[in-house]
Amino acid sequence: MNTTALLAWMGLGFFWVHTLLMAAHALGEGRALSRRLGAWRRAGGLRRAQVTQGTGPEHRLAVYEVEQTGRSKGDGTIHFHDRAYRSLVDGGKIELRGGAVVTLSPRAAIEVWTPPARQRAKANVFEEADFKAAQTLAVKARGFPRVLEYSIRVGDEVRLFGWDGQGERSTRPSAGESAVVGETVGSPLTPVIATFDPRAWLRRRAWGARLAALVIVLSAVAVTVPMFVGEPFGLEAKVGALAAVIVFNLQQLWLKFVRDHTREPSQCHVRGRWSLEVPRGT
């Protein structure tokens, strides 16, 4: 075997090692979501409940905040990037189905989950009157700061994890639990208050990650097979090798897509943009 052939084999080995690493990473993202679902199931599932008291402004019980900075080159579009995610509790009461009442003290450590699609939709909504002032700041180095708020108020239907049917805490607060959650990766046992039933969302994303791992491996198979069809180092092998170089880069982008789409609702990218060219408001 000459040197070029040896190196080509080595390149193929390198491609497969990284294919398997990327597939393992995608599986790991799915497994993290499944672990959260498993923890919920073992603790008795999510409790349906209604907020009956909120001690925050306008009877707010809790809020999920996304701190952002908007930047623009003055072309009529402001692009936002996320700086921090925060779940904050004002305090109040939640009545579980069955009548038990859970009292949340202000600054309790609990993750506030709202649907990611709703978060992103809100990020794009603006009034034309606000745009000019925002753009003036957005073209400067510091950018245009804003905080998106997703509130839970009196009367809202919620799903609760972390309390049993009698309103007692079913999970112990962990040592690292702080009042501002959502800025670090949550443990599967971190209490959650959600404005939607997140189980289907988690299940879909977990399976999506597994499917993505399969796609990563199958794409590698698809480009490897031609390398062994026909004459060694012939035309088919060349096509396979060239495709492997392209697929290798696509796999990495695909893994990024998986990582972005398996971020939990208290961590997911919101970003968004304001553009004078697109329809405004909802």
Partner: protein, 327 residues
């Protein structure tokens, strides 16, 4: 304090290059180009040792990209931009990507609220060796999607054109070589290109893993071997490079000894990168979790400009270096 803010050695400028030592960087790139192009054209040059040397010099080519995008090698801005094309071909990615990804985002860690696209926490395999292997698979796409978002908002004149032109050039030359001689190009050009580009990403993990990025002096690991730093153009002195991004690489060794060593946790000075890699990634199965303490930071407020002020100044310098104005 004056000593902290001025250059540590006298610049030795020549008519063409900014400092006499820049010829080392030019030489590295020339040797690398010879190592990858010769085997494509000459059969007898296709030897495993040539391949290994090409891989190593590809990594050094990426080190030169890093230094060049902080401070251009040449006095002439046009020549600096032209040099970026050659460097981009060597790495198969546009050298200008370093402006947003490294100079403006990585150098700030997460202090300005923009998550570091190359933070060590992006990989979390239990077997640490896999983190070292896998890191570029995660950080590479973070970088390129991040650069795309940055391109949408930058008012840096000419950045998008330069970035796209470097991309086209790098892929066009590589494509041409593939057309001329396919398998030798795959083996002696594409594989080294990948190796270098991915190793420079891995350096982010190696230099910051288990360090305290909130600290003024303990955010980075330094590799202080003299031979290592000669060939690596002083890229082993990472703490001072982060704190004084505008300082020329030639001055880093002196500044490290004078400014960093008295203040940093001594465990973050590693005599050998190879020994560190063996210890942290091969001999230890699990990731080192001991973040060096903050006990050596009494001198963090010595009347120096604040970290954010220094960042802003470094950003302005980076933009000027890149040939545009600050946004």
């Amino acid at each position: 304090m004056g000593d902290l803010l001025t250059s540590a050695s006298t610049p030795s400028s020549t008519w063409l290059v900014r400092r006499r030592e820049e010829w080392r960087q030019v030489g590295i790139v020339a040797v690398y180009q010879a190592l990858i192009l010769t085997p494509v054209l000459i059969t007898s040059a296709r030897h495993p040792l040539v391949f290994l040397a090409a891989c190593y010099f590809s990594f050094l080519n990426a080190v030169v990209i890093h230094n060049h995008l902080h401070k251009g090698v040449f006095h002439s801005k046009r020549l600096n931009k032209a040099f970026r094309f050659l460097l981009s071909f060597g790495a198969l990615y546009p050298a200008s990507a370093n402006i947003p990804s490294h100079n403006l985002v990585h150098h700030h860690f997460e202090e300005d609220g923009q998550p570091d696209w190359a933070a060590p926490g992006h990989v979390r395999f239990r077997w640490n060796f896999l983190n070292l292997l896998h890191f570029p698979n995660v950080v590479g796409p973070n970088t390129f999607t991040g650069v795309k978002r940055w391109s949408d908002v930058t008012r840096h004149p000419g950045f998008v054109f330069q970035y796209n032109a470097e991309t086209v050039f790098a892929f066009a030359v590589t494509g041409l070589l593939l057309w001329v001689n396919f398998w030798p190009t795959i083996a002696f050009v594409v594989l080294p290109q990948f190796y270098g580009a991915r190793c420079i990403l891995r350096i982010n993990l190696i230099q910051h893993d288990a360090c305290d990025v909130d600290s003024e002096w303990n955010h980075s690991r330094n590799f202080v071997g003299r031979g290592f730093n000669w060939i690596m153009c002083n890229n082993g002195y990472h703490t001072i490079h982060h704190n004084r991004a505008g300082m020329h690489w030639v001055d880093l060794a002196h500044a490290h000894r004078e400014q960093v060593v008295p203040r940093m946790d001594p465990r973050l000075d590693e005599p050998s990168m190879i020994r560190y890699l063996l210890r942290a990634f091969v001999l230890h199965v699990h990731r080192e979790s001991n973040v060096p303490g903050r006990g050596h930071e009494e001198e963090r407020h010595l009347g120096r400009p604040s970290r954010l002020e220094r960042y802003a100044a470094a950003d302005d310098a980076a933009m000027r270096e890149a040939g545009g104005r600050a946004t």
